[in-house]
Amino acid sequence: MFDPVFIKVLFGTLLLASSSAVVGAFSFLKGESLVGDAIAHALLPGVVLAFILGDGRHPGYFIIGALIAGLIAHYGIAFIEQRTKLKSDTAVSLVLSTFFGFGILLMSYVQRTGQGQQAGLERFLLGKAAAITMMDLYVFTGLALLLLLGVALFYKGFQLMTFNEDFAAAIGLPTGGIRFAFTVLTVLAVTVGIQTVGVVLMAALLITPSAAARSWTSSLSRMLLLAALFASAAALGGTFISAALPKMPTGPWIVLVLGFFGFSSLILAPEKGWLARRRRAASNRNKTQRENLLKLLYGAEERAGEPVAMTAGAIVDAREQHYEGLTKTLRNLKKEFLVVERPDGFALTDLGRSEGRRVVRLHRLWELYLTERLGMAADHIHPQAETMEHVITPEIEALIVKELGNPEVDPHQSPIPYEED
């Protein structure tokens, strides 16, 4: 398994995959993910025609055929978008399906004449890295290096054109030239990429690494690097699996591994990921429960005019609802010295009293703000304040107090409890 040929194929595959990913990153950011897919499908008739008309085994013909077909497809899409009333997704689908259909027709023709088998034309569809000849490998690895170099060279241009094309044009950058360079790089990236994953799955190689990488970073250069790493890792994994299992195509395995990276990134990513959002939701729920409990105890003290204790049962009754997780919340509050457990129930510590007072204060301040500033009626404001008392930060609190001129009482004439100093 670790013979020199395998190592070379592996190394080539890594470069091919990462170069496609880096070029695809800009399509991804521009929201043109499908254009890469269309170009990939559109290459099929180009490479098959190159095979029929020229020497089908020579990578030079392959690249030229692919380049011509890709450029025609790209400018065809642009032409349809500009000159007709069709929406861009329609233009993309139209070009994709027409070119691909034509390619399949040509392929069946070649297949029937019997030349197809020996040339391994079917590998264009689903990719088969192991079928690459040494000559192919050198040519395409060279091309992949060229692609990486091209992106490095055009980095500023691609960055600005993707973010703000009007500004690029306004400062006099040659936008048409930069776009042409990007199109050529995309077509070449697809040409390189279909060696490993084939035409059908090429979009995955262009887009998925960036989609995964974007979850982890907000820096363009780091995103490109990470996309290349994801693509390499997927190429590595896919190649190993398909080499280990008999008669397994490489492409689908690479794409599956990439998909795994993509989906796990969506789940695991910091801040925007599914897990992080769940954790945030849980922490918000937790905060609400704690603060409501402290507010309840503070309210009881306020009514009694002296420190009181409440049993767990009394707390459940007072909330008029099943108190989910009450014991857990109480345990946590005890641990943080906000509440103490006495024989007659739970009571606030000084720290807990200050915290409970803060929640009540925010509640009443917000009720006052709603009536004063938004002109809401006094009987409509309570539910809103129930939420906002957990959201308002000290900065916003200071703003409200200042705007309302240090108010003394809320709309229901309850005093607004400030911290005594």
Binding site: L29, L153, K156, Q159, A169, I171
Partner: protein, 266 residues
């Protein structure tokens, strides 16, 4: 009067429908100038045509007496804030540095001098401490100030800004206004597309009133009159908009683009 921008018999279409009809005016240097008109009156189209982003059907524009290409480095452009995707992976410094990009340094690395100029620009808009902030985390006002900092980093002589006051907080509005006055004192010219009549009189020295055709252009005392404002904001001319629809429906070509009345040859 020393001229900054000249617009000659300009007709421009959007989706083959004319949005500017035969507009013709000249703007002075060293003033804060507002291009004012109701929604859909062709203000942004005007600015984009001056910046070469839209091709006119007829007529031409000049800046400092020359075609745009000859003076591009002296011209700065601030597009509408909503025209870009602020979720783009970049920090504030990245965007401001874009103001240093030029045709002749496209393939070169960003220099120390570029960074120094960008830092200075950020300082002027009070965003220096946000230099490393992701642009997706900025408020609307901060985004607008980033765009203005990028334009300051261009170190131009004339600044064209598209609705810089839309959706910004009071602090940003004050900061922008102060900046505009400083720029004017340095002899720079600022042209601002603006839709809000309430503030136009206060912000600008010179006003262009637009509503698909030119209503008036001149010092604000002459232009900001009840009659002219009513003309600009009193709705579009029925004949003009009917004709526009007709041209759009029949895809009838307006005058050939080469037709440039009284443009100096050579």
């Amino acid at each position: 009067m020393e001229k900054s921008i000249e617009v000659h018999n300009l007709t421009v279409s959007y989706h083959s429908k004319p949005v500017l009809w035969d507009v013709d005016f000249e703007l002075p240097k060293g003033k804060i100038i507002g291009i004012v008109g109701p929604n859909g009156s062709g203000k942004t189209t005007m600015l984009k045509t001056v910046m070469g982003l839209m091709k006119p059907d007829s007529g031409y524009t000049e800046i400092f007496g020359q075609p745009l290409d000859k003076v591009r480095e002296r011209v700065s452009y601030v597009p509408q804030r909503e025209s870009v995707d602020w979720d783009f992976p970049a920090d504030v410094m990245d965007v401001v540095l874009m103001g240093r990009y030029r045709k002749n340094n496209l393939f070169k690395r960003i220099t120390k001098e570029d960074r120094r100029i960008a830092t200075e620009a950020l300082e002027k808009v009070n965003l220096l401490e946000f230099a490393d902030r992701q642009i997706s985390q900025l408020s609307g006002g901060q985004q607008q100030r980033v765009f203005i900092a990028r334009s300051l980093a261009q170190q131009a002589d004339i600044y064209l800004m598209d609705e810089p006051f839309v959706g910004v907080d009071a602090a940003t509005e004050d900061a922008i206004l102060k900046l505009l006055r400083d720029m004017k004192n340095e002899g720079k010219t600022v042209v601002i597309v603006h839709h809000d009549l309430q503030t136009a009189n206060e912000y600008f020295d010179w006003i262009v009133l637009l509503n698909t055709r030119l209503v008036a252009a001149g010092p604000k005392e002459q232009v900001f009159t009840k009659e002219l404002l009513q003309e600009a904001y009193g709705g579009r001319l029925t004949v003009l908009s009917k004709l526009g629809d007709l041209i759009s429906d029949t895809e009838f070509p307006l005058r050939e683009p080469d037709f440039k009345e009284d443009q100096p040859q050579g």
